[in-house]
């Protein structure tokens, strides 16, 4: 069966041009491409689709008239613009006509759509969003949450650890991902109240390989693969990490390691813990990012990662109850 991947052609600063170029890149690399469902303005998209020689057989087009702007209020925009590419995508995702949806548009609207159009996986208290973090040894870590949940409880962080582990295993292909609790010191008992209360839960969580506390200096090291924190700290770290690429540009430093902080190349970040793969792209995503987002959606579907996540969450709950 071919997976049906929904793509918002109108989302992102460089839409629709770069989205369609990204589709071209994806098609060039895919041996058995997924069934692409494109949402957007037909008149704007058609010439670009032709220009990139995207065959009509490669996609189904869902014409929409409205566009949700990057600065619009998420909930209001989704409600008031049902005929926007972003709203329509979620409608079809919720209705089962597509299997996954991706957009580099209004992040807030993507999150609201993920949380309310489609539901959380059974047992998941709070869906989360992570971001990859380049390691000095060439590997890749995952930090979560990076902003979906600014205030968290220990049991939320514990579930992030489980979901992050499943993601790291099946998408980052790390066999036995090491889980670290981001904290202010190495020893058990260190930290703010949240970290102190989270540590024992992680220690008892049999779905993960908990290696203890990690510190800010360990983010680029190999100490942990999955790094867990609440979304306030995580979001600030993510944006600081992103700024390292800007720092390199500004200072003229050229080095492949710093290039890896150019996050818009990665192709967006999935919302974890909802029933279907939703990929949220960076506003300034280019064609490489879009092709990577399509591949990520495909990979998440192919590995059936959400079922695996639900199973692990169910297992964790059974043990902790």
């Amino acid at each position: 069966m071919s997976f049906r991947i929904g793509i918002d052609l109108m989302g992102g600063d460089k839409a629709p041009t770069e989205v369609i170029r990204g589709i071209r890149r994806y098609l060039d690399q895919a041996s058995e491409p997924a069934e692409l469902h494109l949402f957007g303005d037909w008149d704007a998209a058609k010439p670009l689709l032709d220009q990139e020689s995207i065959p009509e057989a490669a996609y189904q087009f869902h014409p929409t008239k409205e566009v949700i702007g990057m600065q619009e209020h998420p909930t209001r925009a989704l409600k008031e613009k049902p005929d926007s590419s972003l709203s329509k995508g979620f409608q079809l995702l919720a209705g089962g006509q597509i299997d996954s949806f991706l957009s580099a548009g209004n992040t807030g609207a993507m999150l609201v759509g993920s949380l309310f159009s489609i539901q959380a996986l059974e047992g998941v208290l709070r869906p989360t969003m992570g971001t990859v973090m380049p390691k000095l040894n060439g590997g890749t870590g995952l930090i979560l949450d990076v902003g979906l949940n600014a205030d968290c409880k220990p049991e939320h962080l514990n579930q992030f650890a489980t979901m992050g582990t499943v993601y790291a295993r099946h998408i980052l292909e790390i066999k036995q991902p090491k889980v670290g609790l981001l904290n202010v010191g190495e020893e058990e008992g260190k930290g703010n109240l949240l970290a102190q209360a989270t540590y024992p839960l992680l220690k008892e969580n049999t779905s993960i390989n908990f290696v203890g506390n990690i510190e800010g200096r360990d983010l680029m090291s190999d100490k942990a693969d999955v790094m867990v924190c609440e979304g306030f700290t995580g979001n600030i770290l993510l944006k600081m990490a992103e700024s390292l690429y800007d720092m390199a540009q500004h200072t003229g430093i050229q080095h492949p390691f710093l290039d890896r902080f150019h996050f818009e190349n990665y192709g967006g970040t999935p919302v974890l813990g909802v029933r279907k793969p939703v990929i949220v792209g960076h506003g300034i995503s280019g064609s490489l990012a879009f092709s990577n987002m399509i591949r990520l959606a495909e990979q998440m579907l192919r590995t059936d990662i959400l079922t695996k996540m639900a199973d692990e969450i169910a297992g964790t709950r059974k043990i902790t109850q």
Copy 2:
């Protein structure tokens, strides 16, 4: 009047050699050197003092027999080792025989000593510790808290903003320091519960020049000079920033901007909000760091910064009550 600055000769990984070399550097640069009070093992220190040609007139020696190790439990060590260089320093600071104390020894013991041997400034709810943050434009910002207070309330962050402003004005010599609240978005109303509740307090604080929320990407920018957050996030950011220097070493990147993240050169960070200047040095401080720590203590005494801080705190309290 000459200021009396206490120096722990035994604190730090490279003590006492680098401490004494740092004293030499300080004396070489000072036109009217402060009165130095040295705490430590006389037999270990004497040959080094001679080797560095430190004249006997430049210091008073307070011989101590014990040393508090870097890994010892702070409260217990201070209690059980009253004849250690670190304990003795705080005893004389509390007793008024010295005006300031600095050490690169056990950080926890330095903090416990600061909080319990000498008291908080009147009206200060929670003393704090900040760290400087290099800016891309060549300037220097200040982040606080960076670990003294892992859990905070809005009124704590509000006082950190006031104390940070006084420090930035008189020590970093920024005339009208811009204060930013570290947050996950720019707009008022963004953030976790703490940040949301802190924003209005900062807005009403007439002792500071509040410029609104700043994000992780703004840390190295000129958006704010004083960046306020709780000590959990701040500590992780500090250690991540420190690791940028290690990253440069590891990858072989050479650039003056990254050299500025070599924090042990800065010469320690003061505890703000206590009645006397206490400077906490980095464990791996070298002679440059120690000479800078002495100069910082001197500068804090010369500018009478703690009185200014107490005045501003009193003003803020009057307004908010």
